[in-house]
Amino acid sequence: MLAFALYITLALVVMALLMNLYRLVIGPSMPDRVLAMDTMYVNSIALIVLLGLWLNSKTYFESALLIAMLGFISTVAVCKYVLRGDIIE
Amino acid sequence: MIQHLIVLPVIVPLVAGILLLYQRQGLIRYKRTVSVIATILMLLVAIGLVNMAIQGEIVYYALGDWQPPFGIVLVLDRLSALMLLLTALLAIGAVIYACAGDDEKGSNFHGLFQWQLLGINGAFLTGDLFNLFVFFEVLLLASYALLLHGGGKARIQASVHYVVLNLAGSSLFLIAVGILYGATGTLNMADMAQRLANLPAEREGLVTAGALMLLVVFGLKAAVVPLYFWLPRAYAAAPAPVAALFAIMTKVGIYAILRVYTLMFSDSAGTLAALEQSWIWWLALATLAVAGVGVIAARDLRLLVAYLVLISVGTLLAGVGIRSPEAISALLYYLVHTTLVTGGLFLLADMIGQQRGKAGTRIVKGRPMVQGGGLALLFFIGSIAVIGMPPLSGAIGKALVLNAAEGTQRLWLWPLLLLASLASLIALSRAGSTMFWRSQRGSLSGSVLPRRQWLGVIWLLSAAPLLVALAGPISAYTQATAEQLTNPQRLIDTLLPDAEEAL
């Protein structure tokens, strides 16, 4: 049952990522792309969590944590860039 | 302490760099003192190491006490000792010169200089392929920073080419190291050599690819045709003491070729033996040809010297391509000569440029120099040496290299090398007569040059006569070095004493 659920969830996450990709490619605007990118980061947390479950290992916890922290920062950076050009001023 | 002597060429500049870089600003006298003392210390260490190496024993230093092939080792043999000594000698000239004021034209000169030495020394000492990569990066990044010292458009532009090409080269290095690791399962060069001797046939292609790609990387560093393009402008643009130090940079590439291929692809490597040889040989000849043309074409003294460096690269690589003990011995003698002399010429070119005002180092008529006589004398000495005319070291070096060529090799090497010499002769006599003779009319220009600059140049150029006077002992050393290099089994046995049993 668990394995089955994992498969289904994986499939859903992959589809989610593909839709992120679709938006990233289509755009049309920069914020759209950034949003897609940001979502992709978040969705990849799901991917890592599922990997941990799959491998029965907590080794990947920090990776997920880091994505949560750092994905945000890169989104902030791009937004700041589009808003102000100069991201540190 | 004596057992730690081998690691000192790395530790001394590292610590000196730390001391120098802790504070960015001010304290120039303190920084100069530290830098000069560290460099002199390095010279003393290098002399000590040569003394150790001269016994003929190969000594290694297992960092972290992890024995080869598992840990990283520093290997001291005659070759690495010689290169360390050469680096220290060159560095002293450059650093003294820099203390005349070039070090104040930007931030952190001395610290970067020391770390550049760290990279160079590390590359000369390491016995580990990946560690070689790391030290290459250290010396490259330090050289990028030093190249920019003082700023200016030409430097920036030359840097872009230099840096981008070397970054691509670094990627290639990683690929090559990866392949070699994948094929042999080790990173220690001696261990790799040993494993190559018993390599399954299905892996030979891999090793070939890895080794030849590595050759491209080293060729890029050594500035061999067609990978030399970064060199002329970068060397011509670099601040003088940096350019002088750069004289050893191409030699790092040549050293790496010599080290890696004589060790790993010696006769015991079976079908893979000497797989680099023909490539190096032909590329060396091409380099000689191009450099000869470049020397004639150069319209600026510093560019001219840069092309002279390229000639030396071609000459040295030709020696590597011949691969006989005689050739290796000859090229080592030539290497010592060319490094010091071209280093001195870069400094001298800068001094000449300073005294010529607007004309700078361009080979055009300019105003006469305040200290034209002294500069002319040094220029004459440096030129004779670098062209390879008697009675200075270049003549002997060239004769040794020519003499080392055998049979049909002579048919190729001799004309090219001699024509390249002729090209240098034509170019340098043109440059000298234009700058010192044609520029005698008009008011004197420039101010009196600092004594430290003279000292730096004289330090380096005095190598030319000294190498002649001491030709006997030096060539005895290089001969023994060549003999050591062509019998790598001794190094392997030293590093991996259990290997025989294991097989």
Binding site: - | F130, I156, I175
Partner: protein, 110 residues
């Protein structure tokens, strides 16, 4: 799996190198970064691909080769340092030359 992996490194290398052949500094920097990603993947795989065996010693099991991992770690760091330098060099070159051509050319000829 190995085939797929190799194709991926190959494509990434090709894309990165294509960019390094461009005439403006920024694409070149991006290309170098991309190439270094590819090279890191390449180097990483030199110990073979292990799907379940992080090199954390806990008694049993099969482990991935830790050595290439350590090498890649070093390579990533060095690559970052180099990228940082080259991108700022590109910036500086633009400020000196007035344009961002890799050769500092005034006008585009091609």
């Amino acid at each position: 799996m190995e085939t797929l992996y190799a194709i991926t490194t190959g494509v990434l290398t090709a894309c990165g190198l294509y960019l390094t052949l461009r005439g403006r500094t920024f694409p070149v920097v991006v290309g170098l970064t991309l190439t270094s990603y590819a090279v890191n993947l390449f180097l990483f795989s030199m110990g073979g691909l292990t799907t379940d065996g992080a090199a954390i010693v806990h008694g049993d099991g099969r482990y991935a080769d830790p050595l290439p991992q350590a090498l890649v770690l070093t390579a990533i760091v060095i690559g970052f340092a180099m990228t940082a330098f080259v991108v700022i060099l590109a910036m500086r070159a633009r400020s000196e030359a007035g344009n961002d051509h890799v050769d500092g050319k005034k006008e585009d000829r091609e």
